[in-house]
């Protein structure tokens, strides 16, 4: 199947050092009323936010484009996940799906976010490791620079291929 070309995992790591105590940074990640104040980059806001910071607990955050985003205004990008590791106040891990509302089937990115906090001299270093395990079909198709119509063609091709090798 052609789409398996993209089954490879993708990873990236980001790091920041903040002038804030570790407990404050932890709270910013684990309290919904605080998280919603910074989660959305410029011109976005967070209309929905639920966080249950314990293993098996839910993390659900919706980012919505505001007026400043022009034609994207009103577009919602939810992230829904489950905590797999919660070590206050140093480590937070969750598995999640992120997608564009209304296009869930084609835009979903499945990822694991692993947040590590370390305090030193009153400053807190945050390390975010993101591992992407799956990307929606739309992105996969875009990877071949194809318009959507090609998908059926490719599926047919994959079927034929499966028939031949089987």
């Amino acid at each position: 199947m052609i789409l398996q070309l993209f089954k490879k995992k993708k990873e990236f790591t980001l790091q920041r050092t903040y002038r804030a105590p570790i407990a404050t940074v932890w709270e910013a990640w684990t309290q919904a009323d605080l998280l919603r104040q910074w989660w959305g980059p410029k011109n976005t806001f967070v209309p929905e936010c639920r966080i249950e910071p314990h293993v098996g607990g839910e993390v659900y955050v919706v980012m919505e484009a505001g007026e400043g985003m022009g034609k994207y205004a009103g577009t919602r990008w939810p992230m829904a996940g489950t905590f797999t590791r919660v070590d206050p106040v140093s480590r937070l891990t969750y598995d999640a799906r992120s997608w564009t509302d209304g296009q869930e089937a084609t835009t979903t990115i499945e990822h694991t976010n692993d947040i590590t906090l370390q305090e030193r001299d009153g400053q807190t270093t945050l390390t975010l490791d993101v591992t992407i395990s799956s990307i929606g079909d739309k992105a996969k198709m875009a990877a071949f620079g194809m318009k959507f119509g090609y998908k059926a063609q490719l599926d047919k091709l994959a079927e034929r291929l499966a028939g031949q090798s089987g």
């Binding site: 980001l14 910074w38 945050l126 990877a143 071949f144 620079g145």
Partner: protein, 114 residues
């Protein structure tokens, strides 16, 4: 938008044997003989397919000892990397935004302080 190069990629992959070659090369570079053997296709046929894959930039080759080794090229698959990059950029912005937020609340605390 479908550029001519991307259209060539599509045409190149639109042939079952070539798709099987690409699939095989995902595991690592191989000489033409090994590809022919693995897929049960005659070597001249494989060479022909490899030429088409080479012309569209999907596969490149290197001379090694007395044979040519064929491998997958990253470029045609780079758009997927751009998708990942935009996700990375979102998180990058988000962490900056967290920094601004932390600054704003620590300032507030200072203002409220003695």
């Amino acid at each position: 938008m479908v550029t001519s190069m991307q259209a060539a990629v599509f045409v190149a992959l639109g042939e079952p044997s070539r798709l099987r070659i690409v699939d095989l090369l995902r595991a690592g570079p191989l000489p033409v003989g090994a590809i022919a053997e693995a897929l049960g296709i005659r070597q001249p046929q494989v060479s022909k397919h490899l030429r088409v894959l080479g012309d569209s930039g999907i596969v490149s080759s290197q001379a090694q000892a007395r044979q040519r080794i064929y491998q997958l090229e990253a470029a045609p698959f780079e758009d997927i990397g751009q998708w990942v990059a935009s996700f990375e950029r979102l998180w990058d912005d988000r962490l900056d935004s967290l920094g601004d937020f932390l600054n704003s609340i620590t300032h507030e605390k200072k203002d409220d302080g003695p």
